[in-house]
Amino acid sequence: MLFQIDRDSFLDGLTKTVPISEKRTPLPILSHILMNVDESHLVLTATDLEVGLKITSEAAVQEPGMLAVPSKKLYEIVRELLPGQVTVKSTETQRILIESGESVFELAGMDATDYPAWTTGKEVETAQVQASRLLYMIDKTMFAASTDDSRFNLNGILFEKEGEEHIKLVATDGHRLALIHGELGIRPVSNVIVPRKGLAELKRLLESLKGEISLGFEEKNLFVSTDRLMMTVRLIDGDFPDYRKVIPEPSDTIVRVPHSQFTHTLRRVAILTSDRNKGVNIKVSSGKMELKTTHPDLGTARDVMDVEYSGEEFLVIVNAAYLIEAVGVIDTDSVSIEFREEGAPVILRPIPSKDYFNLVMPMRK
């Protein structure tokens, strides 16, 4: 293997791939990046077996070849090099020489054939989707996914077919739920769960991209690709709970609140919550909403805001952090909050209504 590559283009590829490989792993080869050089390209590959990413860069190749190289060190070296051309060369002894100006690095690599193979999804049907649209749908739901590894089937977002055209994304941790539906031009073969870990990488990638991407699903994998990169995310095997049962009929008890004022009021009173007292007591009466919290050791907080509501007074306790997150993903100036009888979910929706809503189960004392 012998090629020249522009330092900035090399660094860009590494910046995207290294975070995936960098994680602590019992398999040493996974902390390596696979460098695969064909006639005119350098392909960098990183995987942690959950997520895989392949990035192609233009290179002036004299001699094709393959080698797995320690990802973090390679990244650090390239990052510190001066702009310009970098010459990369492999030796007989599975080492790699990196030369730029007067700087020379020799780095021990590993046999490329040991690098885990992963599915490339070449034959999968794909659709062109705006990266920002997929990102939007993930952002509206991902916060509600469980962070507890022990419930792996809740540990991600459900991608579900809806009707003939639509797709629905649902996430829940058992205490709350977020749902968005819309069109992506393509739907998974069956309902699939994209794990939180893969979502995080996917999100980061989508944030760095502009324009359209190709999205494809396979039974066990999700693919996102552009002309120069491709990401594979492994899907979770597991049954997503039947969330439909818990989404109630619309309620008449609706309170309308201004978004930013509600958020700020919640944040203020949430200061006096604790690990064991997470709830905010919400008392709604005609035109008013009173929010109260109690920290068992420190004290209490109380705040009142004007709201649009006419009806009987009621009281509900909701986890303050859940409410803050739920309101946080709503992107309109007004929020509608639907309340129900004790023990039934509280539903938050944007006003005017959009393609998403989320739901929080109340607490009791």
């Binding site: 507890d148 809740l154 205490h175 969330y243 064991r276 007292n277 979910p345 009791r364």
Partner: protein, 611 residues
């Protein structure tokens, strides 16, 4: 066949009674010492040979007896302490059955020497197997002396049942210790085979007596117990964990000054330590229970070791609450100390420190950051103290590398407590926190420390009647148990409700979980419930909802505490230490594991080959 049934003759009766009263040397010794105490002695000298098998001698400076009384005393049921049946109800003296001397005399060679103040000369009577061999008048000091030789010489079967000399002597020593604790105002001298084993001069308080009797590590860990409820009161001292012993023998309890070994009392003491002791470890406790005489029956056992309470539940609660509050209350009440003291003051009185320096010349008072030296320290003590503090104390230094995240010198000063006065060396990444004081390197388990704080908070808020929050589940979870488990769980649902679980029965073996406590971050309800069901099965037979509740609170604390692997910042460590001080928490986690492991610099120096 007439005349078969006869009234037993006096000697036979005495020998039968002896079987009840006198079982082994220690019982003889106890009877005699009790007599001495009842005779208002202020100094008692005990001597045994061969574990008491060969000789038991008790000499006191009490009131003594007249010539006639001395003879009377050797008769069965002869006592100066009771006159009528009515007196039995309010017994305030040690002995009362009037069996002792006669019984002992019937199974040994006994010499009684006694003199009343009014009498110009003392009386000497020798008895052998219950028969008076000689009686004489002799000049002696006021008081009594009883010498018991060759115990059971005429009852070979009994003699065979006696244990090895060391065992018998051990029992005697323990009993003397108990007496010495119960009667600090009486001086005790105890000699075993000519060797002085205890020399405890009369002192003003039990606490000073403890100083004489117990080693430094016990004394340093004692906290005061002082609790009253209903008509009873509980006073004394317990050693705060992790200090522990491997058996129950260091739980010394007294009811109205009488040493008892009562199961109810012992179980209450153990309960009081329940969240502080590891399994298989036992507390050190010296506890005095005072009750009106009509609330306790001491006439159940010939050796008076067992007692019966009129209201056992009240006694149980009295002890449990007293011990628990002393161990968990903040700050510890420490004898002679100010409010913020955590250890026993080094020298409570001049006479005591004199006593100490004689008995324990090696022990110099240590420098003690955060504590003021006791004003009564002798001048040379203060000098030693300074030398220790200013001498070869290793100065905290910044160690380059991972562990050196934070380095603080121990804070000296009067306002800080024992935890916050520790210097922070740093933390091992993903592991424990390293601290130090002047003398030791200390490894702290931050998870255990945090757990202890949270647990104490929880217990306190539970006592205030606070309910824990419950988070409703979006999708109720159905969990299946075995039939036995299900039955246990069904019985204890109430406890789980107060802890924030909303669980309902759902068929015979299934339960539906509709809500979980909000502290419960992890979603593994099934795992937590099966842990709790195990506890229920463990305790459920006896129906101990208290323990289950504690077990629940332990889970809460354990699951909300910082993990060992979580890295804490210097400020967080500092705050943790301060909180430990503020709460005055014992140095163990709710499961009874110690919070800290200490490595004296002296030991480290030795290991590094430095002297």
């Amino acid at each position: 066949m007439a005349g078969r049934i006869r009234v037993l003759d006096e000697k036979v009766i005495n020998r039968i009674a002896a079987g009840e009263v006198v079982e082994r040397p220690v019982s003889v010794m106890k009877e005699l010492v009790e007599n001495s105490i009842d005779a208002e002695a202020t100094s008692i000298r005990l001597e045994i040979e061969n574990g008491g098998k060969k000789l038991i001698r008790v000499r006191d400076n009490g009131t003594g007896m007249s010539h006639d009384d001395a003879f009377q005393a050797l008769e069965r049921h002869a006592t100066s302490k009771l006159k009528t049946e009515l007196d039995l109800v309010g017994i305030a003296t040690m002995g009362f059955r009037g069996e002792a001397l006669a019984s002992i005399a019937s199974v040994s060679r006994l010499t009684l020497m006694t003199r009343e103040e009014a009498d110009p000369a003392g009386t000497v009577i020798t008895v052998e197997g219950g028969t008076i061999r000689s009686a004489d008048r002799k000049g002696m000091a006021v008081g009594s002396m009883v010498e018991v030789r060759n115990l059971f010489f005429n009852v070979p079967v009994r003699r065979k049942f006696l244990k090895a000399t060391a065992t018998e002597a051990g029992h005697v020593h323990e009993a003397v210790t108990r007496f010495a604790l119960a009667f600090p105002g009486v001086g005790f001298t105890y000699i075993e085979d000519g060797k002085l084993k205890m020399d405890a001069p009369a002192v003003g308080s039990t606490y000073e007596r403890i100083y004489t009797l117990f080693s430094k590590d016990v004394r340093e860990n004692l906290v005061e117990v002082n609790h009253s409820a209903h008509e009873g009161s509980l006073k004394g001292y317990v050693a705060k964990p992790p200090y522990a012993r491997s058996n129950m023998r260091s739980v010394l309890t007294f009811v109205n000054g009488r040493s008892v070994k009562d199961r109810l009392i012992n179980s209450a003491v153990t309960r009081g330590f329940a969240n502080l002791m590891e399994r298989g470890r036992y507390p050190f406790a010296i506890l005095f229970i005072e009750l009106p005489p009509d609330k306790v029956d001491v006439n159940v056992h010939p050796q008076k070791a067992e007692v019966r309470f009129v209201n056992p539940k009240q006694i149980y609660d009295l002890i449990l609450d007293g011990v628990y509050d002393a161990l968990t209350g903040a700050p510890y009440r420490v004898p002679g100390g100010t409010r913020r003291e955590y250890g026993l003051p080094r020298s409570p009185t001049d006479s005591l420190s004199r006593h100490l320096s004689r008995e324990d010349p090696e022990e110099a008072p240590r420098s003690d950051p955060g504590h003021s030296a006791s004003p009564s320290s002798l001048p040379q003590d203060a000098a030693t103290q300074q030398a220790t503090a200013g001498g070869d104390v290793p100065a905290p230094a910044t160690i380059p590398g991972h562990a050196a995240d934070v380095t603080h010198a121990p804070r000296l000063g009067h306002q800080t407590g024992p935890f916050s006065s520790l210097g922070i060396v740093g933390r091992i990444p993903g592991s424990f926190v390293i601290l130090h004081n002047d003398e030791e390197l200390i490894v702290m388990d931050q998870h255990a420390a945090h757990e202890r704080i949270l647990f104490d908070d929880l217990v306190r808020s539970e006592r205030r009647g606070e309910h824990l929050e419950s988070q409703d589940l979006l999708i109720p979870q159905v969990i299946e148990f075995s039939v036995v488990e299900a039955r246990a769980l069904a019985r204890h649902l109430g406890v789980l409700h107060t802890a924030g679980f909303r669980i309902e029965e759902f068929g015979e073996k299934d339960f539906v979980v509709k809500g979980v406590p909000s502290w419960f971050n992890k979603d593994d309800v099934e795992g937590l419930l099966s842990e709790l069901v195990d506890v229920m099965l463990d305790t459920g037979v006896r129906g101990d909802p208290g323990r289950l509740r504690e077990e629940l609170l332990k889970s809460v604390a354990c699951r909300t505490a910082v993990k060992e692997s979580e890295n804490m910042h210097a400020e967080e460590i500092r705050t943790l230490l301060k909180t430990l001080d503020r709460k005055g928490s014992p140095e163990v986690c709710p499961h009874g594991r110690p919070l800290m492991a200490k490595f004296p610099f002296a030991e480290i120096r030795r290991k590094l080959g430095r002297r």
